[in-house]
């Protein structure tokens, strides 16, 4: 993994124009603002859909509530773009950051959870004449989705408290959470 991390950092660092833009006076603050707006859009729509599956606002058909999801995807898209901009601008501050590892893991898990929902109960809960209440499996996935997105926010907010510094001995093992120097073993 350490080799992969070093390779990723080198790759991201080779994309210069975005990094230059991000390091102008307004680049970083603006990208952060956009990232926070995107996360609000995502949680405000996907989160409400999850709450509907869990039983809040039962008079709204689940299919109607699902109409908000494209806006959540838009929020996710906004954050993927702004997030990649951070990553390209300061690759080692993310690739070696344990909080970033957790954040990426949670986002991936939320993706798998959403995919499972669409492959299993989505058709049933949004069909014409579907029952008002969602089945337990859908509720479980909704609860998982809510928890994971809250976890993503927390891991994102904690990034600054786990900023990696150049590695001190002992050197990194499986996954580096400090910035490795150019050591012969890693080349």
């Amino acid at each position: 993994m350490v080799r992969l991390q070093i390779w990723l950092v080198t790759l991201f660092a080779s994309v210069k124009p975005i990094a230059r833009l991000m390091h102008t006076a307004w680049g970083w603050p603006l990208a952060e603002s956009v990232h926070f707006i995107g996360l609000s859009l995502l949680v405000g729509t996907v989160g409400l859909f999850d709450l509907r599956l869990l039983g809040l606002g039962q008079r709204i058909p689940i299919a109607a509530m699902h109409r908000l999801i494209p806006w959540g995807l838009a929020g996710f898209g906004i954050n993927a773009v702004s997030g990649i901009a951070f990553l390209l601008a300061e690759p080692d501050q993310y690739v070696y950051n344990p909080s970033f590892h957790v954040k990426v893991l949670f986002i991936a898990a939320a993706g798998v959870n959403a995919l499972t929902f669409y492959l299993t109960t989505y058709r049933k809960v949004t069909a014409n004449g579907a029952p008002v209440g969602a089945p337990p499996a859908a509720k479980a996935m909704a609860a998982i989705s809510l928890s994971l997105w809250i976890g993503v926010i927390i891991a994102g907010r904690l990034l600054t408290f786990y900023r990696p510094f150049p590695c001190q001995p002992p050197e990194p093992g499986f996954l580096a959470t400090c910035i490795p120097g150019f050591h012969a073993n890693w080349k």
């Binding site: 952060e32 008079r59 709204i60 926010i153 927390i154 907010r157």
Partner: protein, 158 residues
């Protein structure tokens, strides 16, 4: 003013919030503030999008059932925001951006309450404008909040 700031900064709660290395001090409060923001601004965005014609299958009267979620977000942020203010009173209160942020939140809150109370009295044109105003006020409140980290002139009075 400086003596007031110094007095707050030297209080036990301020020192703990600012200086404790515990994850439940500053990091947890910041996380709570981001979660509260997502709930408050996010639900307001969903209501605004509905007012602008998105997801029109959702009965607007029922959409207001989710107002409670936004109120939970406001409550989380009132408490976490107060703690952040107690930690760094000089940093916030000497920055004009902080007052702009509070004003934008006040506008957003007033619009949110208005939607919950008297939506039925509005024409469809009025609903569109309220939707736009909701998006603009909450969006710019987020931007102003984020810019606080970049625009302060003094960190502490003491």
């Amino acid at each position: 003013m400086d003596s007031l700031f110094r007095w707050i900064e030297s209080s036990a709660l301020s020192v703990w919030t600012r200086e404790s290395t515990s994850l439940i001090a500053y990091p947890a409060i910041l996380s709570a503030h981001a979660i509260g923001m997502a709930l408050a601004a996010g639900v307001n965005a969903a209501i605004a999008l509905r007012l602008l014609g998105a997801a029109s299958e959702i009965p607007m009267a029922e959409m207001r059932r989710y107002a409670g979620v936004a109120w939970i977000g406001f409550a989380i942020n009132a408490v976490s925001g107060m703690l952040l203010l107690i930690a760094y009173p000089t940093k916030a209160l000497t920055n004009p951006m902080f007052y702009l942020k509070l004003s934008l939140i006040a506008v957003g809150l007033a619009l949110f309450v208005a939607v919950n109370r008297r939506l039925e009295q509005w024409t469809s044109e009025a609903r569109t404008w309220i939707g736009v105003a909701l998006l603009v006020s909450w969006g710019s409140a987020i931007v102003a909040g984020r810019l606080l980290a970049y625009t302060y002139r003094r960190l502490m009075a003491g």
